[in-house]
């Protein structure tokens, strides 16, 4: 279970990206996070795995306060949190399989991994994960030779290599076309339903939220505006989250 308590992030220069945000996510839940661009969604996700250090507040995961964890403890915590990015964030000059194997970096012996030596079991696991997302035949291509949809699947395979208990997905489908978006979301759904992995996913399109999420939270200028099931987002709620001039699309 993940519990976020009074989380606040103020960037250098005084921008308040998160303002006293609190919510809970149950084990095995698919949580969607919605809000305008710049509303603090990315900051929230990055605070959970401490890519960004929060200014105030607590993040309790499995009875452990992540905000107090030391560097060494963070390595152990992060390896259980897979992350999927809007721009895939693959190392474009490396081979696909190396990108996928990078998901194991939190587990393997650092000295051996630096010279690109991974245990045989990890390589087998990588091939299996790539097979699962349908890119097994691309394993030895360079990552930048792949199309956008394929690259995001590499990103998912990389996250799955971590044997995660939680997946943080930062607008995973925002740079993909609608067909690809659904296929990527289905992989996330599959991971959520079959493996029981908690998924926290920031999304732009409400139909995707309705289709995939168990629950949704909404941010506006760093403040939590909404916490409930996707069905509860009616037109009034929508205007509250996105502003008065906003109109629904899709």
């Amino acid at each position: 279970m993940l519990e976020v308590r009074n989380l606040t992030k103020i960037y250098e220069g005084g921008v308040k990206a998160l303002d006293n945000v609190s919510f809970k996510v149950e084990q095995g839940e698919f949580l969607a996070c919605i809000g305008l661009s710049g509303s603090g969604k990315s900051t929230l996700l990055r605070c959970i795995n401490r890519l960004i250090d929060p200014t105030e507040g607590q993040i309790i995961w499995n009875d452990e306060d992540i905000t107090k964890a030391s560097q060494d403890e963070m390595r152990r915590i992060r390896r259980k949190m897979g992350m999927v990015f809007q721009h895939f964030n693959l190392v474009s000059r490396s081979k696909v399989i190396i990108n996928v194997l990078a998901g194991r970096l939190g587990y393997v012996n650092p000295a051996m991994s630096v010279i690109n030596r991974f245990p045989k079991s990890d390589v087998e696991m990588a091939l299996k994960q790539m097979d699962r997302v349908g890119i097994a035949n691309q394993a030895y291509k360079r990552a930048d030779e792949l199309s956008g949809g394929q690259q995001q699947r590499v990103g998912i395979a990389r996250a799955m290599m971590q044997e995660p208990e939680m997946i943080l997905a930062d607008e995973p489908v925002a740079s993909l076309d609608p067909v690809l978006a659904h296929s990527i979301m289905q992989y996330l759904e599959q991971i959520n339903k079959e493996d029981g992995v908690m998924v926290i996913c920031s999304l732009h399109f409400l139909d995707l939220v309705h289709r995939y999420a168990d629950r949704a939270i909404a941010l506006n200028e760093g403040k939590l505006m909404f916490d409930g099931t996707p069905e509860e987002i009616d037109d009034d709620k929508f205007k509250e989250i996105y502003g008065k001039e906003a109109e629904r699309v899709g």
Partner: protein, 605 residues
């Protein structure tokens, strides 16, 4: 109002133009611009001579056949004027229009029956046998020439003196002159000098460039406890490293006394080290190991490191003895033996330094993580007390080290000034820092290291390698080695800066992604940074090699060996034909390098 403003403008513009004029006038004054000199006759003849010499590079020469032809002449005219005997017209001969002349008088000299195309000097040969060149001649297709020569000023002599033409005719195929051969040797030396400087410079610059990259360093933050313990740990570790190296050296001396034992050691050492390391560093750590297991592992790892150091020491000794014994049997390939034994020497020089630095890093890191865990676990007030003590010690240590270095240069040699004062000031500053900082706050140590590294790099880079070579020439003697060292040092500074700028411009996305997997800093660099910087690194290394080849051609001017040394010598000896040959060689090498490096760069990037 408007006219007033435009008037003001015009005045200002006029003043600006005036100022520019004054600036240029002063520039002419201090650079001693003198166009009159450029057209003075004396300068022009010198210029012509030099340009003509430069146009005749001393590269090819012919075997030459020399024929001396003489004609008697009286200087000054005696009374009565004697007859000159008829010349022998069967071979080449010369006639003059007069049989005697006064000093400084011009006479007409004709040569007949010379070999067509032959050329050479015309000398006045005095009665004493001393000669003086008056003119040069070139015979036309009929073997005829005609020159007007001016008689030299000489003491009056009664008997006949001579004008002598030395006709030179090339025979056989052209061959390389000695100058060309020496130039070739030195050009080879120059190219390899640049190659070595680039290689060593690059190897050093790569790790430094990571430390000098802001995006990598700005995230490195540590608590004061950890920083203070690191500062204490480094010198401690370096000391321990030196001791360890000496201790292992004793074992090494025993083992390398015998060549067989040495060979065996070089083979057994790494195998044992590898096996032990495999046991102590398992591939995947699933469970946190127990305390006993961890201690055993650490001891094993220390043994492994000792074994590795021993192996390297033995390798160096082996290379030294094998290389020396190979020089004779290999004959003309003896330089390979010399290379191997030089590698041994390099090993003997580098190993102690590496061991000391490695031990410094190890102890520094261990104490640093120990400090971090103290800072994480204990309460704020007790951390503050520990911080005050540690910061005082670290500050004192840091200042004393700096003071000892300064003392080495300036030889103050007063214990109060080099130990007590700096130690005291350092301790006070440390205490002040510890009092002011929040006990557990993470201080931006990475940014500090970044700035210190950048400053050192900028300072080093601003000293031209032509200046650096002076110090190295004193240290290792005038020659190409000094040049290579100077160029290598400059390469480190220049490349580290260029490289670090490339690191700073990498995409942050992959960095973030790899960090999110739980990778540590080393893994982050290996997986997210290095793949992104390989193409620009190759490109910059090629570019630097290009620069180094160009620099190595003139580094000899300051004692750095290579072709520059030869060029400078020839310029000083006023041997412009030889200098011209060397300039052409430089031009060819630089142009070729330019072409090769741009081709390679296109291929890699």
């Amino acid at each position: 109002m408007k006219t007033q403003r435009s008037l003001l403008r015009s005045i200002l513009l006029g003043l600006a133009i005036l100022l520019v004029l004054v600036i240029y006038a002063y520039g002419f004054q201090v650079t001693k611009v003198n166009f009159k000199e450029t057209s003075s006759e004396r300068r022009l003849t010198q210029l012509t001579r030099i340009l003509r010499a430069l146009a005749h590079p001393d590269i090819f020469e012919y075997e030459q056949e020399e024929v001396d032809v003489v004609v008697p002449i009286y200087l000054p005219c005696p009374d009565p004027v004697p007859d000159i005997p008829e010349p022998d017209t069967s071979g080449p001969y010369m006639v003059t229009d007069v049989s005697c002349a006064a000093s400084k008088e011009f006479i007409l000299l004709e040569g007949v029956n010379f070999q067509p195309g032959s050329r050479g000097p015309i000398n006045f040969v005095a009665a004493s046998g001393a000669k003086r060149q008056l003119e040069n001649f070139v015979a036309d297709e009929n073997g005829y020439f005609q020159v007007s020569v001016q008689m030299p000023t000489r003491q009056p002599v009664a008997e006949a003196q001579y004008l002598r033409a030395t006709a030179r005719v090339p025979v056989g195929a052209p061959k390389f002159t000695d100058t060309a051969k020496v130039t070739w040797d030195k050009i080879i030396e120059t190219v390899f000098l640049a190659l070595l400087a680039t290689t060593f410079g690059t190897l050093m610059a790569i790790p430094i460039s990571f430390v000098a990259a802001r995006n990598l360093m700005s995230d490195v933050k540590s608590s004061l406890t950890s920083i203070a313990l690191t500062i204490i740990g480094w010198p401690l570790g370096i000391g321990l490293g030196i001791l360890a190296n000496l201790g292992i050296g004793e074992v090494n001396n025993l083992l390398t006394a015998n060549l067989g034992l040495n060979l065996g050691g070089v083979i057994v050492g790494p195998v044992a080290a590898y096996a032990l390391a495999r046991w102590a560093l398992p591939q995947v750590e699933v469970e946190e190991p127990g305390r006993g297991m961890r201690v055993t592992r650490i001891i094993t790892l220390i043994v492994v490191i000792g074994l590795i150091i021993l192996t390297f020491q033995m390798l160096a000794e082996l290379a030294l003895s094998v290389g020396q014994s190979l020089i004779k049997p290999l004959g003309s390939l003896g330089f390979l033996g010399n290379f191997i034994s030089q590698l041994g020497d390099v090993g003997n020089m580098v190993i102690p330094a590496m061991v000391a630095l490695g031990a410094g890093a190890a102890v520094g890191n261990t104490l640093s993580s120990f400090g971090q865990s103290i800072s994480d676990r204990l309460s704020g007030s007790s951390v503050k007390i520990i911080n005050i003590i540690l910061a005082a010690i670290a500050g004192a240590l840091l200042f004393i080290i700096v003071a000892v270095i300064i003392n080495w240069f300036y030889q103050i040699n007063d214990p109060v000034k080099i130990y007590w004062w700096p130690g005291g000031i350092g301790a006070v500053l440390g205490v002040l820092l510890a009092l002011r900082a929040t006990p557990k706050a993470a201080l931006p140590i990475g940014t500090t290291i970044y700035f210190v590294t950048r400053t050192i790099l900028n300072a080093t880079r601003s000293v031209e390698s032509l200046v650096m070579v002076i110090v190295f020439a004193v240290w290792v003697g005038i020659g190409p080695f000094a040049g290579a060292l100077a160029l290598a040092l400059h390469t480190v500074a220049a490349l580290a800066k260029l490289y670090s700028e490339q690191v700073e411009s990498i995409l942050p996305g992959p960095l973030e992604a790899i960090e999110a997997t739980g990778a540590n800093r080393l893994q982050l660099i290996a997986f997210a940074v290095i793949p992104q910087i390989i193409p620009p690194y190759i490109s910059f290394t090629m570019y630097r090699w290009d620069i180094n080849v160009r620099m190595s051609t003139i580094i000899g001017f300051a004692g750095g060996g290579g072709i520059g040394f030869l060029l400078q010598q020839n310029i000083n000896l006023l041997d412009y034909r030889a200098a011209s040959a060397q300039m052409i060689a430089i031009a060819i090498v630089v142009a070729t390098m330019d072409f090769v490096s741009s081709t390679l760069r296109e291929r890699f990037v």
